[in-house]
């Protein structure tokens, strides 16, 4: 069922995969991010998709930290809104945009947890830095 929803991508032959993995690290990363930005991509390697979720979380944390620090948004409201946006955006990404089968990854909660604490710590650091720099410098 989930396979039918996905686009079929021609698998790389083994020598090509090996070449790309060893000598073409940049090319491999490029193809992963290409897949990440295309709707309904096929993810044979589950770890690859989880990596994408992880790094997307970190990017969202940096962006929100900057915005919250500049505005500034203060208090636990800022933290709560960050958590909602972080979880919500990624949920929409993997359920609607990529249309993956959450059960293959251990459920929605596993995907929601992926990289969350690191992104939270990163968000706090960026928020504190920008808040201190702009409003207390």
């Amino acid at each position: 069922m989930s396979g039918a929803r996905r686009k079929e991508e021609p698998p790389l032959s083994h020598p090509q995969q090996h070449l790309v993995a060893n000598g073409g690290g940049g090319a491999l990363r490029g193809s992963v991010w290409g897949k990440a930005l295309r709707s309904d991509s096929a993810w044979e390697d589950k770890d690859e998709f989880l990596d994408v979720i992880y790094w997307f979380r970190q990017i969202i944390a940096v962006i929100l930290g900057v915005i919250w620090g500049v505005v500034p948004l203060k208090g636990f409201v800022g933290i709560a809104i960050f958590c909602l946006i972080n979880a919500g955006v990624l949920y929409l990404y993997f359920s609607s945009f990529q249309q993956i089968d959450e059960e293959e990854y251990g459920g929605t909660w596993e995907l929601t947890k992926e990289g969350f604490m690191t992104s939270f710590a990163l968000f706090l650091v960026v928020w504190i830095i920008f808040y201190t720099a702009i409003h207390y410098d």
């Binding site: 690191t118 710590a121 207390y136």
Partner: protein
């Protein structure tokens, strides 16, 4: 640039340097050794093999097949354990270095407000965020709080980079990479990591071995690392105001 913001930037810089130092020490002592490379390749090969086998196994699979899978799981567990033991060396080296560094930085930044928090932390976190600071303004941030936050984020990210993606943080055989950060993990954390991994491989846990798995795992060094890293700071107590 004000002194406070300069301190903020400096602490982030120190965090980045210590994260790189930790990765460097680990690379020298662990990653470049033949034993580690061999074990890692073996574990990856075995886990892929096991995953494929589990996907093809059916409800009516013979007892022999199930026993074979259990044997392979056991072998994989042993290899994971060996891999963790190889990383122990770097753990001790890192713990030792960082204890010394933390003591030094703590004395440099003692009593200094290094940043302003855009929120008032919860009361049990104020002991950390307002450590050794004068006054009752709990939006003042002490060195240790900012350092911990930076380390939690920067070191995790540097580990993710160095171990080939965030999967380096995810798999239990590189759980000790996560332990090198200040994310508090314990045996329970390692156990949950293994349980999560086995669930992901759709392996039902043998009932009688549920708890034995933790016994066979090497004791987490995260607790001792955190203690050694933070002990000079945490044991000091808060400064009393007049």
């Amino acid at each position: 640039m004000s002194t406070m913001f300069a301190d903020t930037v400096l602490i982030v810089f120190i965090s980045v340097c210590t994260a790189l130092l930790a990765e460097g020490i680990t690379w020298v002592l662990v990653y470049r050794t033949e034993k580690y490379k061999r074990l890692k390749a073996e574990v990856e090969k075995q886990s892929k093999k096991l995953e494929k086998k589990k996907e093809t196994i059916t409800e009516s699979a013979g007892r022999q097949q199930k026993k074979k899978i259990e044997r392979q799981e056991e072998k994989l567990k042993n290899n994971n354990r060996d891999l963790s033991m190889v990383r122990m060396k770097s753990m001790f080296a890192i713990g030792f270095c960082f204890t010394a560094l933390m003591g030094m930085f703590n004395s440099i930044f003692d009593g200094r407000v290094v940043a302003k928090l855009p929120f008032i932390p919860l009361s049990y976190i104020q002991g950390l965020s307002h450590r050794n600071l004068l006054g009752e303004d709990y939006t003042d941030c002490s060195f240790i709080f900012l350092y911990i936050l930076c380390t939690m984020s920067i070191r995790q990210i540097s580990v993710a980079f160095s171990s080939g993606g965030a999967k380096g943080l995810r798999n239990p055989y590189s759980r000790s990479a996560e332990e090198m950060t200040l994310v508090p993990t314990s045996n329970r954390g390692v156990r949950m990591g293994l349980v999560k991994w086995l669930n992901r491989m759709k392996a039902p846990l043998p009932q009688n071995k549920c708890m034995d798995q933790t016994d066979s795992l090497p004791p987490s060094t995260a607790g001792s690392f955190i203690k050694s890293d933070l002990c000079p700071v945490l044991c000091k107590g808060t400064r009393q105001t007049n």
